[in-house]
Structures are given as C-alpha cells and as structure tokens.
Symmetry: D3
Subunit: 261 residues, 6 copies
C-alpha cells in the first residue's frame, strides 16, 4: 500500500526546528506514514506577534496548496496559534489540514475535566484564549501559566526549561485545578514525557497532537470521505476569479491554481 505523506510546516523563515522535529515525529508516526518537515523561504523566526503571523500567511498557504498539488495527504501547521487554519481548509479539497490548538484542545477536553495551558510569555495569552473560546472550550480552561521564556529559548537550556515547566505544571494542578496540561507551543516539543511522569496526569505535546490528528483525519477521509464541508464557510475560491484578477502573477505563484495538477 502506498504510504501516506504528511508535510509539517514550520511557518517560519528559519529551519532550526525542522530536523529535530522530523526525528521526533519519526518516532511518533504510524508505519504507513511518511513525514516531512519544512519551513518557509522567508519570514520571522517565531510567531509571538500578530504581525509575524500575518507575514507568513501567504507563503504558508501557498506551501499548503502546493502540497495538495503534489499529492500529499495532509499538512500540519506547526504553530499553537493555529494561523490560517480555516483559510487552508478553504483552499484545499483533498488535503487534510490540522493545527496544534484545535487538535490538543479536543484531546484535553476528553482526557480530563479542566486543563491548563503553559505558555512562554503573557503576550501570547490573548490570541490563545480567543482560540479556546472559538473552539468551545472556555468552560474547561483552568488557567494559563507563563514560563517567562520566548519560543527560541525553550531548547537553549533544556534542563532549565524543564524545571520551569515542572513548577508551572504543578501549580496548574494544585492551585488551578487542572487535570490535563497542554504545552502551548510547538517549540515545547520533547518535554511532555518527563512532565507526564512527574504529574501522573496527561501532558499534551501539541506538535504530536496535531500530527496524529492528521493521520486520523486522513484515515477518515479515505474510509468515509469526511472532509471539511464545501457548502459554507470552506467553499473554495473560484479559479475564474484567481486567474481573471491575475493573482498568480501578483503573488509569484504561477500555475499554482491554474496549472496542471
């Protein structure tokens, strides 16, 4: 049987995380799956600001559209803000698309009564709380807790990071009543096992959550044809408009929409 191909996209203009995440996901993937981790040709090195999110939008979406063209089975948007997730589902027909916040919140609400999200900096909280509300999980949110670390700091001194994570995870459980802990950044990969053992409670690695959900959704698509509905908010824009307005030329994506598949 042909293997399923899943592309993980770090929506960043640097590839630091690509290799270690690929190694990490190779351990986690199913046998019939191939994983590739890519980043963008340009862009900020993390997405701690709304502006950085906005900057990567076009390239991220075109990378995803290209992945569909190249017959990938799924794309994973590797940022806990879930940037451009709805947009991505809109432009694709066959490609499964997942993202860490939606994937891990669904698990967290199954695995316990309430959850806490451990973020790097307080700055991240508003956009994440917005997502918690949007995904219907507000009643289940025990707390946000912040490490005082930026995205690029997590793997500088991993034992220091782990210590801070332990401190905040413990407080989430003991003071805030969390039964599940979510590590609220894809760059926090690699820490969940230690924490989980310490807490005796599920700790969600959001990178893994999104990746495995992608595998799951590919399976659902292949068996039952279940994919995002195209009769409403995810209706795909018409080629006629894209071609008629010259969007491919304007955004340097000649043939992406109109070329052969």
């Amino acid at each position: 049987m042909k293997k399923k191909r899943i592309m993980v996209i770090n929506p960043l203009g640097q590839d630091t995380f690509d290799a270690p995440q690929k190694a990490y996901l190779e351990e986690a993937k199913s046998d019939n799956v191939e994983v590739e981790v890519v980043s963008l040709q340009r862009g900020p090195h993390h997405l701690e600001y709304h502006y950085y999110d906005a900057l990567v939008g076009i390239d991220l979406l075109h990378t995803i559209k290209q992945a569909e063209k190249e017959s990938y089975d799924a794309a994973v948007i590797a940022c806990f803000n879930d940037p451009f997730l709805y947009e991505a589902r809109e432009i694709c027909h066959r490609l499964v698309i997942t993202a860490p916040a939606q994937a891990s919140l669904q698990l967290a609400t199954v695995f316990g009564d309430r959850f806490s999200i451990i973020v790097g900096r307080n700055k991240w909280i508003p956009v994440m709380r917005q997502n918690v509300y949007k995904y219907g999980c507000a009643d289940k949110l025990a707390s946000f807790r912040s490490l005082g670390l930026g995205v690029l700091d997590f793997h500088n001194d991993e034992s220091c990071t782990l210590n801070r994570l332990k401190t905040e995870a413990r407080k989430a459980v003991e003071e805030d009543g969390a039964e599940v802990v979510i590590l609220g950044c894809t760059a926090q990969f690699g820490f969940y096992k230690n924490l989980q053992q310490m807490l005796g409670a599920p700790v969600i690695d959001v990178m893994l959550a999104a990746f495995k959900q992608a595998e799951f959704f590919v399976d659902l698509r292949d068996h039952f044809g279940w994919m995002p509905s195209k009769i409403g908010g995810y209706e795909t824009p018409p080629i006629k408009e894209i071609a008629g307005w010259g969007l491919e030329e304007q955004y340097g994506i000649q043939g992406l929409w109109t070329g052969e598949k």
Copy 2:
C-alpha cells in the same frame, strides 16, 4: 504485531444490531484491529428513555470493566446518548473508551461552521442538547431535526428511512444553515454515504465516528501514554471500598474488581 482488540457494546438487551454492525465495522476498521460487537444479557431494546439508560448502566459498566480485564484495547459505547461514558472512563485504567456523541461532535466542529443533528423522535432532543452544551458545541448547533421514527424503525423500511433522512438533511442545510449533518443514533448506521453524496457535504455516521476515535485513542495511548487523567474527576474508586462493602457479591460480579487480572 498483536492486533488491537476493540469491543463495541450495544447497551441493549437484544442482539439484533450486533451482526450487521460487526459486518459494517469490519469494512471500516484498520488492518491491525479486531472488532467484536456485543450486547447485554438483559435490558431494553432501545434507549429512547432516561429510564432505559439507567437500567443498562450496571451491566454496561461491568461489561466494560470485564473487557479491560480481558485486555481489550478499547470499548465503544454504541448509543448517541453517550450513556455512562464518564463512569466508564473512571473505572478503567488502560482501556480506551469512546462514545458516539463526543466523537462525532468533535468531527462536526472541525468539518464545518455549524451542524444539525437528525434524531428519530423529539423525545430524544433534551438529553442530546444537554450533551451538545456539555461538550462545548452549543454555538455550532444549527438545529435538531426529527424523523418521526423510533430506534427500531430505521431498518424496517430502509428506503423510507432514507427518504425521510434526505428530506430533513436538505432542510437542515437549506433552512437552518448546517454545513455538516450528524445522524443522531447509532441505529442510523448505513445511511451516511447516500446522504453525503446527495448533499455534497459531510454526513457523520456516529457509530463509525466513535469506532475510529477508539482506534485513534488506542494509538495515542500506545505512543504517548495519553489517557483520561486520574488526578481528578476520573479517579478510580478504591478496591478497598469495593471489597469492604461487598459490592461484588451484591451486584453479582465476583472477582471483577478483586480477582486476578
């Protein structure tokens, strides 16, 4: 590799659905999975009433506990009311447990902006709406629509059922703004494909949704150790109490809790 074993439990005192559902799930299951469909030794023939739900509780939970003892990997509670789902997760440690409403609502909120649930009779709606709220999907509910059919009627005249389903599904989309349709009863299995083709939009078969979620959760358990948290609402009752109060004798389940595994 040893196959994963999933037990689907029709929480009913009749086995009419067992064989056809097993055949149905054989088509849907992953290669490394074995499926068994069982029903109870006694009980009502459907769960359209709260009372019937309550009647099957003990036997359902003990069947699940026994499945864990026999090293099944997962149990699926085959009723869209999700009866005793939390109780089941409380009494098990290694066994994955899923149920149709939680499983299919999570899919529906991913696959579209709003969904409708097609029920058999209006009587069912209150308990289902309660679940929609509990699972955080209230804002996404477009409507309930009712067929005027009981659980046991769906497969009496399948073409009649399909026609009614088509009528209500179409109204859900056109009048209520649904982008996804959920067939709100495990006994509505087998109809989704036709409807999906007609609508051009995802139609969730809740039996399949729960079954495939079970496969998915077994995978998550085996890879990452993710299971319902045992530090809060899902803490398992202590053997000491169960033995000390003689519950096994009282409920005819000698050795279920205290016997060898």
Copy 3:
C-alpha cells in the same frame, strides 16, 4: 386532612444516615407532612465516584417508582450529585421528586449575588460544576472549596468538621466574594446553623433545601396541577415496551410497572 407523605432516599447500601436524618427532618417538616428516610438493600456507602452513582441507579429508581405506587406524595434523592433526577421524573406521574443540588442552587441564586459550594474532596468538583452549568448558575458560582474530608468523615469528629467548615466558609466570603454558602453534601447536615451565625450570611443545608422544595412542589401539584411536563424529555416509557421486553422479570421488579396500583 390526610397528611402528605415524603420519602427521603439515601441512595446507599447502608442506613447509618437514616435515623439521624429522620430526626433532623422531623424538626424541619411542615405539620401536615410525614417523613420517612430509607436507604437501599445494597450499594456503596457513599457516592464519591461516578461508578457508585451508576451502581445505585436501578434500585433508586425502583424505590421511587414503588413510592409512587404506594401513594407517597414526594421522594427526595438524598445526594448532592442529584443522581438520576431526570430519570426519576420521567418514570413518575404523580410523585413529586426533588434533589439537593437543583433545590439549593435555586435558593442560593435568590439569596445572594454569588455563592460558593463547600465540598468534601476535590474529586467531587467536576460532576458538581457540571450540574452548576446545567442548572444555569455558572455566572453565580464564586468558588468551590474543599475540606479534605470524605462523606463518611463528616460526623466522625463533628467539632473538627465544623472548624474546617468555618475556615473554608470564611475564605469563600472574604477571598472569593461569596454571599451565600452551600454545604455540598447531604451528609453535611446539621452544621448550617453554626456557620450561618458565624458568617451572618445564609448557609444552605442541601438536605433541608431538597426536602422543603418537595413540600413546596406537592403544594403546587395539589393546587394547580403543576408537574414535570410529559410532552418532551420527561415522557414516561410505555408499559407495552416494559412488559413486552420482560424488563420486570429481568430486573426483579415483578409487577412494579404492570401490577395493580
């Protein structure tokens, strides 16, 4: 005038609480009311676990159905989880049924802006919060506070229990902004007066709240015919099904549904 008869049911397989609660309620009841307190023939000694709740369901409901048959006026389900309240209302026609959480939450939202619930152990909170949401009181919940005591501990050392209650009640008021305190377990009976005097604020004894609501609802039934609606979620299951499926034999309740009234 014939006295109204109210049966209070401890849904437990032990009768420790029956006598003291009967004495307690004798003080509280109206003149035209007779009170009886019963427990079950079998079952756990407390309901701190979902599983224990599930175990008592059938016997609790059949005790209630029997009470209706014996022309009781009301039944009170004596556990703050409100186990099987909706199921009980579904199977009865004339019998009033009340339960502590619904009864006391209604009072608390009348008697103050926000309330706190004092529980025995953190384990109880998820199911109770679920009820707070279900009953529409989420916005009025100031906090849960936990005593670190099990159901069976409350009356072991009453002065110790009272001290812990005082500590937590005071914190609920001073730190959490509660104006009303709910003692979140029927086994916490007997403490409210002391606490109320200390706080200068209403402290709801949930056993009393449920019992007096039962008296009130009997009055409404007798004067105005107001009872749970039978045209929706509380529609009673048909005798034809119960008899046809042999449920009475299967569950050892011969004649309960089909026998003479």
Copy 4:
C-alpha cells in the same frame, strides 16, 4: 398559630385587578396565610414601558418597607418585569419579597427542558429576555410569542384572549419545542387551567408562582433563617445616611425608616 400575612402589590395607580386577584389568591393560598392585594395611590395603569416601571419605583418600595414595618411576612411584586425586586430585598430584613419572573422561571426549568413565554406585545420582549438571561435561563428559552394584546385587554373579552392564548401556546409547543408555557403577565391570571388541560403540559400562572414562592420562602425563613444575604449586594442602606440627608422629608415618608417599628 398566628397566620402569615402576605401583601400582593399591584405596582399600578389603579385598583382594577386588586379585588379579582384577591379572590383568585384566596383559592390558592395555604390555610395559615392571609392575603391582601393593594395597589398604589398614583401611577400608570400598566407597566408596558420602562418609564412606567420607573415611575412606580419609589411608591412600590415604600409600600414594601411599610409592609415590613407592619409585620407582614411577605410582599409580592405583581408584575412580570420583576420591577425593583433587588432594591426591595436590599431595604428589608425580615420581609420576604418575591416576583413573578424569578418565581416562574425557576419552576419552568424544573418542569421541562425548555419553555416559552407568551407576552402581550413585542414591546415587552427585550426587558423580559434580559431577565431570562439574568436568571440563568437563556439555554432553556424556546421562544417568546406575542398575543398582540395590551395588559388592559386581557380581561375585556376573555374568550377571545383564551383563543389567542391557545393558538400561541400550541405553536410554542409544536413549532418551538416548548415543554412548559409561561403566561408572561400577571394580568393573564385565570387562564392557565384551560390552557393546561388543552396542552397536557404545565402552564405557569406567574401570579400564582410568585405568591406560592412567597409562602415557601416565609417557611424557609421561619424554619432555617434563610433570607437574602446582607453581606454583599443586598446590604441595607444605613439609617444614618437616610436621616442625615433628610430623605424621609424629601420623599414624604416621615418615620418610615427612622420611626418606631
């Protein structure tokens, strides 16, 4: 035993409803209760407008305060807007105060999954919906339905009114999914029995609901000392301020606050 005295206040400058409502309540009251129905010395003849509500506030509150002074046990504010209910609870210490919307919404959410409110005119809906939200019943509201009749029209042609009520109540049940119907105006008294019989479902007469809740709360006060909390939102204004600012003179209520009790 001394009888309990309950004053029902029509917050109106006309006494048309006083006599028939007194007769009506005499039928409904408990044996140990005396009922009095009064209206105000001045004021509008109905409260269909916010402004009319505001006009009656001072006189209504002072009538209530006077009732407390004269040792009444309870006062019932006879308007479904629940005007000045919180204010009334703030200024009293021993007097029970109830109002129709709070009383009947509590009943409706017990007696069924969802309810509809039948109003006279669409104009009333915003203030009533606001109350439905404030009392935590938004999820249970099936619909508002309007008769196209003003407060003063209900008893002009009672058979016409009854017919319109029947039409709308039936639609509430059949089209909106209501299991309980609330007659959303105290001037709709007298119609509930007919409607209830026709529907086979509870129809709440809001005047009766408020009156019987007053009896109930007097009982709770006398047995357990449960009354609105005075440590928060219902803290009573200090006599020192009222006297110091000359409020009694300014509002023509000499001695009401400062006089002998």
Copy 5:
C-alpha cells in the same frame, strides 16, 4: 454654527460634584460643545445602594425629558451604575443619552484584551457585574478590585486615594492580567492621568468616556439620523396614556409631556 449643548446630570440630591466636574469637562469637550452639569433637587448624596438608585429615578428621567424639551443635544447620566439608561432612551426622541458603564466598557474592549474595574466598595460589585454581562463584556473582565472607599471619600484625601488606586491598578495588571483599567465611579474623576502614566496602559475615566460618547452620538445623529430604535424596546409611551391617567399631575410635572415643546 450653533453649539451643541450637553447636560451632565449627577443623579444626586447634592451639588458638590457639579462645579468641579464642569471645570473638568470644559477641558475635555470639543470646541463646538457647551457643557452644563446639574444635580437633582432632592435625593441621596451617592448611589451606593439599589434603593438610592430607585429614589432618583423619577427626578432623573424628568430632568432628562426636560432637557430634550429645552433642545439640549445630549444628556449624560453621571453614575457608573448607568441608572435608568434604557428608560431615558425610551422617553426621548432627539436627545442623545449616554452613561458611563456602557461608554467605558465599549472603549475598554477595544483598547485591550481584558480589563479590570476598580470600585470603591465590594457592595457595588453585583450591580456592576450585572452590567458587564448585560453589555456583553463578561469574557473580557479580568477582575473587580476594591479600594475600601465610599463615593464621598475619593476627594477627601486625594493623595491617599491615588495611592490606593495605584496599588490596586498595579495588582489588576500584574496579578489579574488586565491590559486596561476602568475607574468604576464617576466620582473617581481626575485620577486617570497619573495612573495611566504609572501603568503605561490606558486608564478609563468613566465620566470622560460617557461625555465624549455623547458628543460622538450627537455627531452620528446629526449626520446619519442614527438614534435608538423606536420599533421595539425603546418605543416611547403614548401621550394619550400619560395624559389620560393624569400622570403629569400625580408626579408634579405639569406640561412636561403634554405642554408645548
């Protein structure tokens, strides 16, 4: 061009705040605006109690109605409880009416993710929280914080007040996660600048917020005819009723409704 005239009404029976607030608003107003600050002929000196709110209702509304008659462009209700705001909008046709809570909550939700409200005493919180919910801002409320000061204390020792404000504002930001601070009483005027400079974050003076919103709404009215809708909850009571029932005589407002304009 004729200047726009805005009347600010302290709904109090004392004029202490009138002159300083007029001076304050003179600094803040637009060039084409004239400001007048008035208080009532009678009434309490602050509105910390529901009862005091109720007492001023009639005089406040009639002052507003008179302002409309005298061709003022706007009236500002100078109390953070927003007393009688909806009533005022109901009785006017051309006069713009604003109030501090609605005005400042709209700004706070634009200027940051979450806000805190600093109140004088805990007693105020219930009515204010009610407003936060009513205005749709519940998800954005970080906290209430209390100064332990009454309305009349704020300007007794302004440096003491400022110190307390600084302490609580800082805690709101650092402990509660507020990005915006609202000074929850019109009598807290004059402190915002200092606080804003200290915090480096917006601090909303609610008096200014309501006043400038009045200017804004006058502009919208004059340009586009946008005013409160008269086809629903703000429908004005009919003169025929007011005259027919003799309300003008009863409340000492001869000619206010029926006189020449």
Copy 6:
C-alpha cells in the same frame, strides 16, 4: 489647527470603490478632518474568501504602518470582516485603527435590543458570526439575512439591490425581531438612508460607522492619551528582531520599520 488625516484602505487590488467612497466620506467627515481612500497595488477584487483575506494581509499592514510613518491620524480597514485589525493595532503606536464590524456592532447594541446583519452571500456568515461572538454581541444577534449578491454586484443595478435590501430588512424586523439593521459589507455604502426611512429604524452603514469611530478615537487619543494597551496582546514587535531577521528585505519594505520616521 492642523487637520486630522484619516486614510481609508480598501484592502483590494482594484480601486473601483476608492473615488465613490471618498466622495461619500467627504459628506460625512467632520470639518477638521481630511479623508483619503486608497487601495492596494495588488490583490483580489473582493474578500469573500478567507484566502483573499490572507492574501492582502501583508500589503494592508504595511500600508497602515506607512500611514503611521507619514503621520496620518487614523486608518480605517474598509472590509466588514475586520481583517488584520488586531495585527494593525499591534504594529502601531500613535495611529488610530478602526474597522467596520467592531464599530458597527458597538453602535447596534446601543441603538436597539437586537440587530440583524444583511450579507451578500451565505458564504460570508461563518466568519462574521465568529466576529459577532468575539465582540461579545452573540446575545443581541437576531439573524443573518442574505441577498444572494456578491460584493461586486451591489452597485451594478442599485435599484435591484435596494429592493432586495428592503425585502430582507423588513423580514429581519418582522420575522426575526431585529430593532437595528446592519448592512454587512462596506460595498453596501449608499443604501442606508432609504432603508432607514422605510423601516423607521436605524440602519447602520458600516463604512460610515468605522470612519466616524476613527474620528472619535483620534479625539480620545488627543485629549486623554487613550490608545490600545501596549502591555499585553498589542505589544509591538521589537525592531531588533525585524532588523536582525532581515524582514524588511524579505518583504520588500526597506526602511519601513528601521528607517527615519
């Protein structure tokens, strides 16, 4: 006094709307304001799809940043989806930024109890409903109603558009209970007056609402220093990162962040 300069940005790759909207806003602006309407160098001709939104993000934000650099006072994002509003507030310090949905929803909730939004096509509804929820207005939403017209159709046959608008606006009022109507697309400019006259109720032109709110916020900024808080979600990204990663070169905006102001 120097005039305030407001830039209205059609986030589109065509300038069709620029001239008529400028003329339209010249009529609406305050005397001390200058208005400019611009569109983008490239991009889709409407934003009916998520993808089109994403495409314009970078150019829109850089146009806004450039406007701040050129000392404009405000920028208005001329699309009812409010694309990139939070991002824009994040990157600016002194420039006021407004958008149509936030501006008009705030007005609608002031001017009536409930509002309806008239959209062009059903496709638009999910993203708009999301905004209605995000802005805290869910309880006030009466309905969405759709014209069956695309953005580019509104001004093709204006009398046809007006007729459809009249039909849907009337239904919104009569069937859905709306008191206020919002024209949910900036391209629906020019129709509100006619509709408003017909309905006798406020009809919000969202272009005007956003523009006037910009004027209002400039006034608040200049008088009180009120601007989006920079201590949380709107914290601006650091120049050090932008320069260090070479973002200006990568996105063709040399000097925009690092150049002289």
